[in-house]
Amino acid sequence: MLRTESLAKTFTLHLRGGMQLAVLAGIDLEVQAGQCVVLSGPSGAGKSTLMRSLYGNYRAEAGRILVRHGDEMIDIARAEPRVVLAVRHATLGYVSQFLRVVPRVSTLDIVAEPLASRGIAVDAARAQAAALLLRLNIPRRLHGIPPATFSGGEQQRVNLARGFIAAHPILLLDEPTASLDAENSAVVVSMIAEAKACGTAIIAICHDAAVRDAIADRLFPLTPIREAA
């Protein structure tokens, strides 16, 4: 479903005199349908950078990121912006650690939006969104409110609901249970298991050992690149 070949990422900090910060080099990662690969390694090893590069949020300057999009393989590292957007729309979902709140938009509509944007009737999309939010223990009385005032854990669950609702064939999950209690973590673990059973390929970052053991088919270890002094 997703494969990288010799992927590399170096940041050039122009405001620091053009300092070069190499974060990723020679990354060959492959994930099959129905498989969950957890990126592991210490802080600063480049786990989030790799995940953001896979999503096209960061620009990989070397190597390829091949994603199965319908019948095609698209190289996210080289694709035109509108192709990347089409891949994100239909194929590649990403649940970041923190919800980006849009003023005035209700929790229900934030979650329903990925379905509505695929042409599903608003009522049907909202019904699915409500069911998913309830499963994640976001009570109905909160559905009509924009999540700006929600707690960190509530926002993360809204973000997860939005990420899972569209059933993307590939899902990137950045610390999906970081702000959650045990009960809600268990819900997320079962949602991940169901997605895998449906053939979803999942790449996750997850520090919680119990959750990691529950979801991971395989670990992909990353090590910090030693800086040339």
């Binding site: 900090l13 405001l15 953001r52 957007l85 849009v102 003023p103 938009v105």
Partner: protein
């Protein structure tokens, strides 16, 4: 096929380069934000793309719904005016530039329909009221003059007037400039929703990176008349490549 394409655009104001070898494409349904500091050439580029200002060199080609290309700067003036009244819309930073202040709110919206050939009064009025409601202006203000409206309401009225003819392409010049942040949020939400629902393509000039992040699929960063970086909105803002973009992004205050 692109909706509008600029190639090799150049323009100088005396010794000041306003546009330097600018190439730019907009695809149907795409929202492109042009960001950069004051004087970087953003508004000039908008004016040149929309045919309001001729470049010293270069071409702007618009592809009509039948797939026919038209050179914006060589087409006869009446054809360009018709485009601006039908397929295109222009949202100015100051709504007074496009609204007629001595005509009622409903008249301002209806006028654009009439310019397109609508003649049935009741139908025009009903559509005007429908659009006032879509931009969250009470229907009972339909007969009021715009000068009784607040700045935020004027801007929403301008948007209703622009979108009532369902343009394919809208040019927006700092549409939320000069408004209170609370008013801005409401307006941005409206623009975002309407543009997505109607599938409108837009070129949006803004100096506000948060506005670009909320509304745009793609960003072009301008500095001294050149496009120094272009790409997916979140990529340009989260992983800026050019020194100027890095400065621009790192200068934003976190709220």
């Amino acid at each position: 096929m692109t909706l509008i394409s600029g190639r090799g655009l150049r323009l100088r104001f005396g010794s000041i380069p306003a546009l330097v070898d600018v190439d730019i494409d907009l695809w149907p349904g795409e929202v492109l934000a042009i960001v950069g500091e004051s004087g970087s050439g953003k508004t000039t580029l908008l004016n040149v793309l929309s045919g309001r200002q001729a470049p010293d060199a270069g071409t702007v080609v618009y592809t009509d719904p039948q797939g026919q290309p038209h050179d914006v700067h060589t087409m006869p003036a009446p054809v360009l005016r018709t485009l601006h009244r039908s397929d295109w819309g222009f949202v100015h930073q100051d709504p007074r530039q496009s609204l007629r202040m001595n005509v009622s709110a409903g008249g301002n919206v209806g006028e654009r329909l009439m310019a397109r050939g609508a003649r049935h009064y009741d139908h025009i009025r009903a559509q005007a009221i429908d659009w006032l409601e879509q931009v969250e202006i009470d229907a009972d203000r339909v007969d009021d003059l715009p000068r009784t409206f607040s700045g935020g309401m004027l801007q929403r009225l301008q948007i209703a007037r622009t979108l009532v003819t369902h343009p394919r392409l809208v040019f927006m010049d700092e549409p939320t400039g000069g408004l209170d942040v609370s008013v801005q949020a409401r307006l941005l939400d409206l623009i975002r929703t309407l543009v997505a629902r109607l599938g409108i393509a837009a070129v949006l000039v803004t100096h506000d990176i948060a506005v670009a992040r909320l509304l745009a699929h793609r960003i072009a960063v301008m500095q001294r008349g050149r496009i120094v970086e272009t790409g997916l909105t979140d990529q340009v803002l989260d992983d800026p490549q050019h020194a100027y973009t890095q400065l621009l992004v790192s200068s934003v205050l976190q709220a």
